[in-house]
Symmetry: C2
Subunit: 153 residues, 2 copies
DNA sequence: CTAGAAGCTAGAGTCGGGTCTAGCTCAAGT
DNA sequence: ACTTGAGCTAGACCCGACTCTAGCTTCTAG
């Protein structure tokens, strides 16, 4: 049930460098045990924690915040309220991120739609549609390109 | 309708430093015009673009990617397909992020729930509930704290 | 017995995305 | 006339989170 650093790296998706780095940063609940020859040995628990830990990271929790949390865990029972508070704070943070991304998403969809329309119209009549205000100018004057519609940024 | 850098900073939420930095990085569609004395002047258009730009940034588009996109815009009409592709790529990226955050969120909710339960139970009978497996040991041996349940990390 | 793979430590380097400084110019208000 | 405030440039600096290097040890397979 003991795992070497290479195995943990393979299983967790983190590099061995990063595992050592995380350890230096105090991100493990229980100090990583060593074999008599100095090599680190990890348990399945560590792997489980790493899975959570990378989720926390990828959802924007900073290393100091994670350390803060795991320090509470290390102190043992009695500070559940504080841990809960940290978790709730991050939960809110994640919710806010989702909300923001959703707004961005509607903007993206909007823009994509505009471009799709444009392209579809351009396709419909190989050249730029003469009924489009730009077309006359575009034909009259190759040099002077029409000022781009702001929504085509 | 002309805006100074300070005004744009105030309106966009970016610092004047950042505005200059973005300009150096080529993130503006049209090269920022200057007054005869060298001061930058921005138009409302720039403000609109900055709003989009910060949305792109905050949703994880890198500065090089944004530059790539705006370069297509600068080249003028004719490359709509490419622009569309960049937009679609980012749209997918945003969708993926939302998905990942949602997964994280369910994990967070789960953990929060576990802690809420714990705390509620602890509250119900001031000391740790004697019906809980840890309790006997905790009473029998103050020194030896129970190994924490992995889900309390 | 030896080569190669895998570990170890301390510390340096990298990268992205800003952020700040020094030293200067300009314009307005008192 | 002078201070103050906003701008300008070039370039240095910072921070977070890795990532890699050098130099050494230790295990394992042939």
């Amino acid at each position: 049930m003991d795992l070497g650093i290479g195995e943990v790296a393979a299983l967790s998706g983190l590099s061995v460098h990063t595992l050592r780095f995380y350890e230096r940063e105090g991100l493990f609940a229980n100090p990583v045990r060593r074999l008599s020859n100095g090599r680190r040995i990890y348990q399945e628990e560590d792997l489980e924690w790493l899975a959570i830990c990378t989720k926390l990271r990828s959802s924007g929790m900073s290393l100091p915040e994670i350390r803060q949390y795991i320090e509470l865990v290390r102190q043992g029972p009695g500070n559940e309220r504080e841990r809960l508070e940290v978790l709730r704070r991050h939960q809110n943070h994640v919710e806010a991120q989702i909300q923001e991304l959703r707004e961005t998403l509607t903007v993206m969809r909007h823009k994509v739609e505009i471009y799709e329309d444009r392209i579809a119209r351009g396709e419909a009549d190989q050249l730029w549609n003469p009924s489009h205000p730009d077309a006359a100018r575009a034909v009259a004057d190759e040099e002077c390109r029409p000022p781009e519609d702001a929504c085509l940024r």
